[in-house]
């Protein structure tokens, strides 16, 4: 048989006809994107959820306050961990075959929707931030006017300031060096000594004065009316808000003071450990030393940066410089503590069991070892790789602690960048109370109008516009726009027919965002019947995976009996996030009504407890019990919603 390639040269018309008859065949490279359906469970999205996946990225819509649908992008591993493991839900997926061009176009469509919306929500957050700051400035002014300075004076939280100040930082326009002996960083004195040669003798004092004056000129100016001219497909920059500007300038002042007074980091800001894994080879020390020089040069350049928010990277960089110095001097790794709080909040060991914590420890040890070995690679160390070393070392030490002291682990709270915060007092602005009140009123009005506009664009409606319908709405709208861009005239009478035809061409079919497609499992069936589905897959939830593993170690019926209820289960531990229940009902259908009746009895029991506890727990138990009743009733009619969840599960890769 002649190959397709030979046919292509021999008969272009035949080839074209074949391509039209068999779209997505080897002529055009084909790819697949996935439509995901997450099944029902207790908790948010009890009716199920839906998402769309391109490669490793998952886009899905969430219901956010105060009643908006917001698109989110997640890594698929993380998405599966959250829904499939922590929430213990089955994830089903249809792989839909499309051309390479269609894949890229559709991926770009959702990505653009994300960009546009993120900016719109950032604008709303900026207005909220401005309102909070204006309120804080008003409170501060009121306190000053009452001549009753108080320790409860309003303040702000500045990132990375916590590496240098334990108490609230009080900015002052020109603070003389204290007469009392205070610890002084020789490293910073050296850094400071390099400044006059580069920038002039009075640079730091001048910069401090200029930054202070700049801050005093800030006003919460109203934005242009065009701010309200937003649309689903129009990117409008959020703008640099008054509050953000204020915080940035305050952070700049804090960084300048740290530098000017050569304030060293607090003792607990830098972690060291006398363990073999933290020993450094000569090559590693040399690599860190080279990075220290690079970082020093970067910090000096930051002082002349035109970005307004240079203070935060300067604070973080100065803290890191001290950690690097200690590493180099001692031959043992010293790193910044990347956890924002010293107290532990996680009892992951209780949730996961010692075997899982051991596995997590082994994983973080490997990640740390890999990051540390990267020190001696040919590529010079940069912030990204040094940051990875910091995070991996922090995690390794924490899981190591968790092996010995289960409740000491702070597994889930590492920051993306060194951000240990501290409080800073406000600097009063030269604005009268009337001016502040006027700005606040204008901003409140603007915010309300903006929110109204957002609600009109993205208002959530369970029966008409939810996380499922929005996926198909985005797809169908994009197809309509594509037709328009291709020059097709808009005609209301034939628009649906043209969109349907184009959707069939691109995706193999058309799915509308109305009717029962608003229900996740119905939409999944519709997609299966309509789009060009190449394959369908089901990813097991956490509990099911572990039950199947247990079948290899014990007789299946014994495992099933043990795992049938919360009392004997070796996998599940009841916790406060789930309503009280006794039996798992997702495993067998025939017994659901009987087991459901027991669950309902437990839920009603919790309701009674909730009623008694009402004066003390603000209705918490009662709310949970009603949730338990709500998910138990369907069990009486052979429907299962509840799956049992694992919210404290340590982050593990479902692929492993």
């Amino acid at each position: 048989m002649r190959s397709f390639l030979e046919l292509r040269h021999a008969c272009p018309v035949c080839v074209l006809l074949l391509a039209l008859c068999f779209p997505g065949t080897p002529f055009g490279a084909s790819r697949t994107f996935e439509y995901l359906c997450i099944n029902a469970s207790e908790g948010s999205a009890s009716g199920g959820h839906a998402a769309i996946k391109f490669g490793g990225d998952v886009f899905h819509f969430q219901h956010v306050p105060p009643g908006l649908l917001r698109i989110t992008k997640e890594d698929f591993g993380w998405f599966r961990f959250q829904y499939g493991y922590q929430e213990n839900r089955t994830i089903r997926s249809h792989s839909i075959e499309v051309s390479e061009e269609t894949f890229k176009w559709l991926n770009e469509t959702f990505n653009r929707r994300l960009l546009v919306q993120d900016e719109q929500f950032a604008a709303l957050d900026a207005m909220d931030g401005d309102l909070r700051l204006i309120q804080a400035l008003q409170n501060s002014a009121a306190q000053r006017n009452s001549n009753s300075p108080s320790d409860d004076a309003p303040d702000l939280t500045l990132k990375a300031l916590g590496y240098f100040f334990a108490e609230r930082w009080q900015p002052q326009p020109a603070r003389p060096l204290s007469a009392e002996p205070v610890p002084v960083s020789s490293l910073l004195q050296t850094l400071k000594a390099a400044i006059p040669a580069r920038y002039g003798e009075d640079f730091l004092a001048t910069k401090q004065r200029q930054t202070w004056n700049r801050l005093l000129t800030l006003k919460p100016e109203p934005r242009e009316p065009a701010e309200l001219d937003i649309a689903e497909d129009r990117f409008s920059p959020a703008g640099y808000s008054f509050a953000q500007h204020y915080v940035d300038l305050l952070t700049d002042l804090a960084a300048l003071e740290v530098l000017a007074r050569a304030i060293p980091p607090k003792r607990d800001a830098i972690i060291r450990a006398e363990i073999p894994e933290f020993r450094l080879t000569r090559e590693a020390v040399a690599a860190l030393d080279r990075y220290r020089q690079t970082l020093t040069a970067d910090l000096l350049r930051l002082l002349s940066s035109e970005r307004t928010d240079w203070g935060y990277p300067l604070l973080a960089g100065i803290a890191r410089l001290h950690a690097l110095e200690r590493s180099i001097a001692s031959g043992r790794l010293a790193i910044l503590d990347r956890y924002p709080a010293a107290e532990s909040t996680s009892s992951a060991r209780d949730e996961a069991g010692s075997a899982l914590i051991s596995a997590l420890f082994e994983r973080t040890r490997q990640a740390y070892t890999s990051a540390k070995s990267g020190l001696i690679s040919a590529q010079p160390l940069d912030e990204r790789r040094y940051g990875q070393l910091e995070v991996s070392a922090n995690l390794f030490l924490e899981t190591r602690r968790g092996m010995v002291q289960p409740h000491a682990a702070r597994l889930l709270q590492v920051d993306m960048t060194p951000s240990r915060p501290a409080a800073a007092s406000l600097i009063a602005l030269p604005l009268t109370a009337e001016q502040l009140a006027g700005y606040r009123q204008a901003l409140t009005t603007r915010r309300e109008a903006y929110l109204t506009k957002l609600m009109s664009l993205y208002g959530y409606n369970l029966m008409a516009r939810n996380c499922v319908t929005e996926i198909f709405r985005v797809i169908n709208q994009a197809i309509a726009k594509r037709l328009e861009e291709n020059g097709e005239p808009r005609d209301a009478d034939t628009e649906l027919a043209r969109i349907t035809a184009e959707s069939e061409r691109l995706l193999g079919g058309y799915v509308d965002e109305t009717s029962l497609n608003l229900i996740p499992f119905v939409s999944f069936q519709t997609v299966g019947k309509s789009y060009r589905v190449r394959s369908t897959e089901e990813l097991l939830p956490y509990r099911e995976e572990h039950i199947r593993q247990a079948y290899h170690q014990a007789m299946p019926f014994l495992v099933d009996m043990e795992e049938s209820n919360v009392i004997s289960s070796a996998i599940y531990r009841w916790h406060g996030d789930d309503a009280a229940f006794l039996f798992f009902t997702q495993d067998a259908v025939w017994s659901r009504p009987i087991l459901g009746s027991f669950n309902l009895a437990v839920a009603l029991g919790q309701t009674l407890t909730g009623l008694f506890a009402l004066p003390w727990d603000s209705g918490e138990n009662l709310r949970k019990s009603l949730k338990g009743v709500f998910v138990s009733i369907p069990e009486l009619f052979f429907f299962n919603i509840r799956k049992g969840s694992f919210p404290l599960l340590p982050p593990i890769d479902p692929a492993d």
Partner: protein, 147 residues
């Protein structure tokens, strides 16, 4: 209404009611979710070589910078200060505090400028405003535009 119809209606009502808590409600705060993700991403791929995973991270950062730059330069409004502010936040999400010293930032900006399909004068003006007199930054932007 017959008993069968009543039962069917009841079942449908119960089932529909069970689906009423529709979409996933946004989980906790964005910052704690982001930090948990960082642990997950780190802890979940220890066996991939650090250079390989770093390349992926660099690529993702560049892509995000490119996408944002492309949208920003094409939009009719927006000040440079606003762009730098948002760029700073985007960089922090990728673990970078000092984006001005990061080569990939400027490569990403270059990719974004190419994606936006601006004219040469606009590209020059934007490049000038971001790179200033720094030839390394200019070169990185050009590298991105040619990628």
């Amino acid at each position: 209404m017959s008993n069968r119809k009543i039962s069917a209606s009841l079942i449908t009502a119960v089932f529909t009611a069970s689906l009423l808590s529709g979409c996933s409600f946004s989980k906790s705060s964005e910052s704690s979710s982001e930090s948990s993700k960082s642990i997950f991403n780190l802890a979940s791929s220890p066996l991939s070589s650090s250079s390989e995973s770093l390349k992926t991270k660099e690529e993702k950062y560049e892509q995000d910078v490119a996408d944002y730059t492309a949208e920003y330069v094409v939009s009719s409004s927006g000040e440079l200060e606003s762009f730098k502010d948002r760029l700073g936040k985007l960089a922090e999400r990728h673990g970078i505090t000092n984006w001005e010293s990061d080569h990939n930032t400027y490569v990403g900006i270059g990719r974004g400028l190419r994606k936006a399909k601006l004219g040469k004068p606009q590209i020059s003006a934007f490049t000038e405003s971001l790179s200033g007199n720094d030839p390394m930054k200019r070169k990185a932007i050009e590298e991105g535009m040619n990628k």
